[in-house]
Amino acid sequence: MAMKKSMSPMTLLGQVLLYALFAAVIGVFSRWPSYQALAPDQAMIKLSFSHHGKPVSECRQASAAELAKLPPNMRAPVRCPRERSPVTVELDVDGVATYRHVAMPSGLSRDGASTVYHRLQVPAGSHRIAVRLNDDARMPGFSHVRAATVVLKPAQILVIDFDAAKGEITLQ
């Protein structure tokens, strides 16, 4: 009723070929075609920071009536707002305004850090970089400014960050 067929040489060859095809698909597409993440004559600028803006308004002295309404352990004489200023950043490359962003503070009460991450491809070579940052809503203009001429090699990454400890924009 049932017959068991022995494997013919052609069948065996067919199996070997199909397994080889499977292996070839994996072997080839696990490395080919190569991917060019960046053109050979290009470099990259990454503008990124995670920075707490200044409070949106000044601290003020609480009145005696206000303090009286509070439990004794919460009667701090100076009341400061939780909300932080949005952080505005502008980037010029070779005198051209390339990027402008207003980063809102994170958190439900807007009391967290403002963050920015932006990548920008530029031709390798010398560039005049100007970065302006304002982290205080009470002040017009920009509280931090950094300008520099950088020479970027092909594929080099220039990171523009903000060092909160030093209070300055860094280029690295």
Binding site: M1, Y19, A23, I26, S34, Q36, K46, S50, V159
Partner: protein
């Protein structure tokens, strides 16, 4: 059978054609295309076993990982390097068979009704597999790992999920700490454990799940990976350097294709594609069905609690419960309507389905309300009793396999069942005793049964190695089995001709020899 929507119909025909082509080379039993799910399990275990060795030798610090893996490939190429390559290639193979499995099951409509659970638990596994695979590239921390980690971070930053952009973790070498590397290790080791848990869920409602391919197929697939690993070993790119963009990368397109796609479009586009595909796949099982088929029904008065339906049900839809009439039996079968496929395999397993029972109306212990076994007996009796019934050949076929209708003529009586597994073997003997000259039993090819186990159980029953078995007294020369998928009508005709020639060799009625 209801006709599927046009894309599914054409896709299904195309898959069947390819599968038949592979059948001619591998045979249906060892056809890899019929074992995509179990091959996925095999590749998973190969990845797990090779991964255990790689983890043992991996320096899990950010500064030491690259060196430890690179030296493995260069100084211990015969073991560590080979296993590293097999690890990677098995991941690629897993992705390929997983996608093949998904497309096949979709085209065959295997996402509705009783299969809904398996489908819904399978879809999230796509994400797990890709997440595990992509995370593996980071552990090596070469330029490819750097590119992949950076691209993944930038993709995740496309949604406001984190207070600080993840990509900031890769701005400088100092940012990539051992702590961050511990996260990489957790992703690449923790997610596969979740994947294994998900796989366990995926097959929960399947009896005798095909979790390991036939030995010959497993050996061949494993050997293929090892040969590929030996011929084309995986080597590292230069070490990661976060001050440089990795310019030219030999990228693994099978796992990492999503990164170039994102840079060619946007992270929002990839999120859109992901959400769209997941939504589509998860919605499929809830689309209205063309018809609802009644599930199998148990008749307590005819169920003796033999457990054969419990053993044979492909979807664990039958459970055994205390019999309401303890004088008849201690247990009886109970059908879970949500799990029942209405395939009738339980009917074929039921000893009370035998047509030899001397009752006016044949009532089986378990039966399909829309296609009761009594009807089959009536139709068989009528066909064999008709005036032109002299030496008829009886053909039992399957609605999902090659169509037996084309064989119908004055000398051939055909009966197409929901699944050939619904055929109690005693019907073969009954047909021969009632005057049939031969019986042809047809069904889907091995591994191609619409209800997974119908072909396997039918063959085993007719060969006498599974209960209920065809009695030894029945002459095997009068019986022909043929396993042919839909569209493979030529195989049916050939089988019928073969049976006719064999019957012609007999002179007179075929004796049914009682066993000694």
């Amino acid at each position: 059978m209801s006709q599927p929507p046009a894309p599914e119909h054409f896709g299904r025909s195309a898959v069947r054609r390819v599968e038949r082509g592979f059948d001619s080379v591998f045979g249906a039993r060892l056809n890899p295309l019929r074992h995509l799910g179990s091959l996925g399990f095999l590749f998973f275990w190969i990845i797990a076993i090779s991964g255990i060795y790689l983890y043992a030798v991996l320096d899990t610090s950010a500064s030491g990982a690259y060196r430890s893996i690179d030296e493995l490939s260069r100084k211990q190429w015969y073991l560590g390097g080979l296993l590293r390559s097999v690890h990677r290639y098995a991941a690629d193979a897993l992705v390929l068979v997983m996608i093949g499995h998904l497309i096949r099951e979709w085209l065959f409509g295997h996402f509705r009704g009783f299969r809904r659970f398996s489908w819904l638990t399978g879809v999230p596994l796509l994400l797990f597999v890709f997440a595990c695979g992509i995370g593996g590239f980071w552990l090596n921390w070469d330029q490819l790992g750097q590119f992949s980690a950076m691209a993944t971070a930038e993709w995740l930053d496309g949604l406001p999920l984190f207070a600080s952009p993840l990509a900031r973790n890769f701005l400088s070498a100092a940012a990539v700490s051992d702590r961050l590397f511990s996260l990489f290790v957790f992703i690449h080791l923790g997610l596969p454990l979740l994947l294994l848990f998900g796989l366990w869920f995926h097959i929960q409602r399947i009896s005798l799940a095909d979790v390991f391919p036939p030995r010959a197929l497993a050996v061949a697939a494993t050997a293929t990976l090892f040969v590929l690993a030996a011929l084309k070993p995986v080597l590292s790119h230069p070490a990661a350097d976060l001050s440089q963009v990795p310019a030219t990368l030999a990228i693994d397109w099978i796992v990492l294709f999503v990164h170039p796609l994102m840079y060619a479009t946007s992270s929002g586009f990839i999120w859109g594609i992901l959400v769209g595909v997941l939504f589509f796949l998860l919605l499929l099982p809830f689309l209205p069905q063309t018809r609802v088929i009644p599930v199998a029904k148990v008749d307590p008065d005819n169920c003796n609690g033999c457990r054969r339906c419990f053993d044979d049900c492909p979807y664990a839809a039958v459970t055994m419960v205390p019999h309401p009439n303890r004088r008849l039996a201690r247990q009886m079968a109970q059908v879970d309507a949500d799990l029942c496929a209405s395939c009738g395999i339980c009917v074929g397993a039921c000893p009370s389905s035998t047509p030899f029972r001397s009752v006016a109306e044949l009532v089986a212990g378990i039966d399909l309300p829309h296609s009761p076994i009594s009807r089959l007996r009536q139709q068989l009796q009528a066909a064999l009793a008709s005036p032109d019934s002299d030496r008829k050949i009886v053909v039992f076929g399957c609605d999902h396999g090659a169509s037996v209708e084309a064989l119908r003529d004055h000398g051939v009586a055909v009966f197409s069942l929901v699944c050939t597994g619904m055929l109690p073997p005693s019907f073969v003997e009954y047909a021969l005793r009632d005057g049939a000259s031969g019986v042809l039993v047809s069904g889907c090819r091995a591994g191609g049964c619409e209800f997974r186990l119908g072909q396997q159980w039918t063959e085993a029953r007719l060969l006498g190695v599974r209960e209920p078995h065809l009695r030894a007294a029945v002459p095997r020369d009068c019986i022909q089995m043929v396993w042919a998928d839909a569209g493979d009508d030529a195989a049916l005709r050939v089988a019928l001709s073969t049976l006719r020639r064999r019957i012609a060799a007999f002179d007179g009625p075929v004796p049914l020899v009682e066993p000694a």
